[in-house]
């Protein structure tokens, strides 16, 4: 076990017990003992007042030709030929990393046109590797993974970023496994360790209750998926020029075939992950009618409608709207929770939102612990009043 307790120094104070997220420390004979649940997350090291907990350095693997790899890449996902907004956010983050590393920023675009590739340049890319092959127009894991990993093998970037979207989270792990390198999921912040050129990848664990910094020090490329909506875009520069490199599609064979693509449209977009504003409802709405009201409010704020599991389980709104541990993780600029109590499984899906507004008639509801602005009141009084006043403001 690489984390050990120095029995001489340990006083059995139990400080470490409290911070261990895995329940991996027992007290035996007044001394802390690391058990087999340990995941080596290092949470216990800094809290020990005696400095009794240490990490034993195992002989690290030899770094493999790190210096052969250079440059930052962004995988720019597109849907129906249009680049997704997460790609522009990644270019913002990628530009910053590339400048710090004094290297180039490239984008990789599959199944879209040169026009879209030029947009990527105007948003900050120096180069775009473009494969226009129409078979790549619709996302399919095997051809995407095959082509991206073969490009990485040829051009050897040191960092590859992709969106933590259904597409990125499905095929990027295959790329990482093909290349036998590390992959960090769902990052919320990225920085460079200037000494080693290592990428410091920060991501939430346990639904955002703790944050972890992850490194991939000995293999390249370092690959990360990044949450939509957390990175800032660059300024758009319509005069910016760059190089487009057309790549030939090779071996696009696939054992999976897309038979049909079905869009499920609703009046107000369900696209929770991209919405700036989410108006969310829970059991406190008392029935499906409440969601009609929330849809109207969301419409006025150009937002989407979310829901707690209780509301989904009651059948008031489809599962695609569910936010939380077993639903979607969202981080809009504004999250308005209406009649939601704030159970931990709901909070883990939305507590990283910039601003949280809670409307609940119970002043003790735990949702108020995370709310930026709290209103104690009946949703059926507050929300219609909000709608009315906003309409007046907009002169409707």
């Amino acid at each position: 076990m690489p984390i050990v307790v120095d029995k001489e120094k340990c006083t059995g104070c139990e400080s470490c017990l409290e911070v261990c997220p895995y329940d991996a420390i027992d007290i035996k004979d007044d001394k802390a003992v690391i058990n087999e649940y340990c995941q080596m997350c290092m949470a216990c090291l800094p809290v020990c007042p005696e400095g009794a907990i240490k990490e034993i350095q195992e002989a690290a693997e030899e770094p493999t030709n790190l210096e052969d790899y250079e440059g930052v890449w962004v995988f720019a996902e597109q849907r129906d030929g249009t680049v997704a907004s997460v790609a522009y956010e990644l270019l913002g983050a990628g530009r910053r990393l590339a400048d710090e590393l004094k290297t180039e920023l490239s984008a990789v675009l599959f199944g879209a046109s040169e026009q879209e590739a030029n947009e990527l340049i105007r948003w900050g890319a120096d180069k775009v590797y473009l494969c226009e092959d129409p078979t790549l127009k619709h996302f399919n894991d095997e051809p995407y993974a095959g082509l991206l990993s073969s490009l990485i093998n040829t051009y050897k970037p040191e960092i590859v970023l992709a969106g933590a979207t259904p597409i990125g989270r499905s095929f990027i792990p295959r790329v990482a496994a093909k290349l036998r390198t590390g992959l960090t999921a769902d990052c919320t912040s990225l920085n460079i360790d200037s000494e080693t050129r290592n990428l410091l990848q920060v991501r939430p664990a346990f639904g955002g209750n703790i944050m972890a910094t992850i490194l991939c020090p000995n293999r390249r490329p370092q690959i990360a998926t990044v949450r939509p909506r957390v990175m800032k875009r660059n300024e758009y520069d319509s005069n910016r020029t760059g190089e487009i490199i057309n790549v030939k599609a090779e071996d696009l064979a696939s054992r999976t075939k897309i038979i049909e693509t079905v869009k499920e449209v609703s009046e107000v977009s369900v696209n929770l992950q991209e919405a700036d504003v989410i108006v969310s409802g829970g059991r406190g709405l008392g029935g499906p009618k409440g969601f009609e009201m929330l849809k109207e409010l969301a419409g006025l704020l150009e937002g989407a409608v979310g829901a707690s599991r209780a509301a989904v389980d009651e059948g008031w709104i489809p599962y695609s709207h569910q936010v939380g541990q077993t639903g979607k993780t969202v981080c809009p600029k504004i999250y308005i929770a209406c009649g939601i109590s704030g159970a931990v499984q709901h909070l883990v899906g939305m507590q990283s939102s910039d601003i949280i507004v809670a409307i609940n008639k119970n002043p003790e509801a735990p949702i108020f612990n995370v709310a930026t602005y709290g209103i104690v009141g009946d949703v059926y009084e507050v929300v219609p009043m909000l709608i009315k006043k906003i309409k007046e403001l907009k002169g409707k």
């Binding site: 036998r180 703790i210 507590q351």
Partner: protein
């Protein structure tokens, strides 16, 4: 059909509490459960078996205590269970975990492998697709419905951001499943009896022929540098007054935020 389900034992998030002072988790006394998504994976596997006959094997890589998760799986209709446990596996990241699981699955030569969409402790959703790559078989992530299973192929619905795709794949295939797929059953009395009596196979790195340098900490390219508490929420504020005054105050805030 010969089916393998990959399950993980995780702390029950419903019981995890946060220490308000330090912002860290209090895990003491928190029970361990089967990862909620993996419950849907088990249910899917058992339903396929009931329709087509065959066998379901559950596998997990974890500490010896993870045996209880496998017994729970048997009570839900799983036929056999294998616990991958070895000191050499400690500290595995997703790549090392996927390698270890794939070495095990190779020995079982299943037609279908089912994983949960993600595990609720790490939320990475990487293990399923990585296992498929190691096995050199196709995968479909976010499966919300199994439409049809043939001799050599399967047709499923994959959840996407704005709807779903109907995807056909050859067998063998790996699926990762979402909650919408099914409603997990409760253990039957017969299942509970079977779970008590079942022999849980315990396999080590040597049993699966895993290369020592590819498992555990050694086989893990990613390392946790440190962990810390997220920044506490900025200024919290209860809006005061009558409902109308509170609503006005909120509208003012929304205007300040340029949301209106």
């Amino acid at each position: 059909m010969n089916i393998v389900v990959c399950i993980k034992q995780v702390p029950d998030a419903a019981e995890v509490k946060i220490n308000p002072e330090t912002g860290t988790l209090i895990r003491e006394g928190v029970p361990s459960i089967i990862n909620p998504y993996d419950m849907h994976a088990i249910e899917a596997a058992v339903q396929i078996k009931e329709k087509t006959s065959g066998k379901v094997t559950a596998i997990t890589m974890g500490p010896p205590q993870a045996e209880t998760a496998l017994r729970d799986a048997i009570s839900l209709g799983v036929d056999e269970a294998i616990l991958l446990t070895d000191k050499a596996f400690a500290g595995s990241d997703t790549l090392a975990t996927s390698y270890t699981l794939s070495k095990t699955i190779e020995k079982l030569s299943p037609d279908i492998i089912i994983c949960g969409k993600q595990a609720i402790d790490g939320d990475t959703a990487q293990v399923g697709p990585e296992v498929a790559e190691f096995l050199n078989i196709p995968h479909v992530a976010y499966v919300r419905k199994i439409e049809d299973i043939g001799e050599k192929s399967i047709r499923v619905q994959r959840l996407m951001e704005e709807g779903y795709d109907v995807v056909e794949s050859t067998l063998p295939v790996l699926l990762t499943v979402v909650k919408e797929l099914n409603e997990p059953r409760l253990p039957s009395l017969k299942g509970k009896m079977a779970a008590k009596k079942a022999e849980i196979k315990k396999w080590t790195a040597a049993d699966i022929g895993a290369d020592e340098k590819d498992v555990g900490l050694k086989g893990s390219p990613t390392q946790v540098k440190n962990i810390f508490a997220p920044e506490p929420k900025k200024d919290r504020q209860m809006l005061e007054g009558t409902p109308e005054e509170q609503t006005d105050a909120l509208i003012k805030k929304l205007m300040e935020l340029k949301c209106l």
